[in-house]
Amino acid sequence: MIEKLFATIQERYAFSEEERDLLRDKMQETADFVPGDIIAPEGEEIHYSSLLVAGISCRSKCTADGMRQIMQFNIPGDFVDLHSYPLEILDHSITALTKCRIVKLPHRDITAIIESNPRLARILWFATMVDASIHREWLVCLGSRAGTKRVAHLFCEMFYRFRVVGLTEDTTYNFPVSQAELGQALGFTSIHINRMLRDLRDQGLVTFRNKLVEIHDLDALEQLAEFDPGYLYLGRRSS
């Protein structure tokens, strides 16, 4: 059930069977959500962290007039709120965009891991640092990458992230979000998103249709987006 988490760890760290068993042992309880459900609420005390194992969710905040800014798309294998352990109360919420299933890691068990297995604690810390890195890259996108570059950048990022957890086929992947949700992430209206998707398709770079992303020319898409996957910290760490 939590094998996709192991894939994201194994991508970066040597990961022993004992460490896997430790997490398997502590991560038993699941919860299911339908689109629109809040997985991790803003402003309430949280006692467990949620590992997304199926579906797509998003990290977002709303403005006073109800506009939603999506700050990250979560995919299977992502701990959506590991940082709720030290923070206890989140300043944003995690919302299911599709049917979702999570596996809980109780915060008291994270305390136990930190005390008994510092290496695994560092691995979990690393995961939250990658989230922070993704947020920094999104800031650059929102502030300094215009139009189709910004859209292309997201499709590149999601390709690399889905690939780590085995959810790509060649350069195609399912990305079950709406154009409106893409707009809420990228700061465009849905009609503008639609127009830019048309441009990207006409340029032979990528097609997004029926929730399927088909990248036709990954090199050219990355070049347009000025995409450098370094911020995803893929590949084995030294320790």
């Binding site: 154009q179 409106a180 849905s190 009609i191 503008h192 639609n194 127009r195 048309r198």
Partner: protein
Amino acid sequence: MEPARLSEYMRFFFHLHNDIETLDEEGRDLPDADAALALAIDEARLMAAESVKTGHLDLTHNVEVTDESGATCFRVSFGDVLAIADRQEKSHR
């Protein structure tokens, strides 16, 4: 006023007719036609602004809104939603 329940929402499609046609296959669920018109006006202004960035604005470019049957509800052209003053007009004031 009670907010409309999602089941009462209607789906509207926002097609963009500018230098090329971009048809909306996904649509947006909105409470009523007024909400669709308001959104179309916002979208038309934003897309006109995008045109301005390229240095070329065609006021006949438009956003067409259709309902689920494919019937056109409105067509909002860029010129309909922009008040444009030029220097000559101003100098007469």
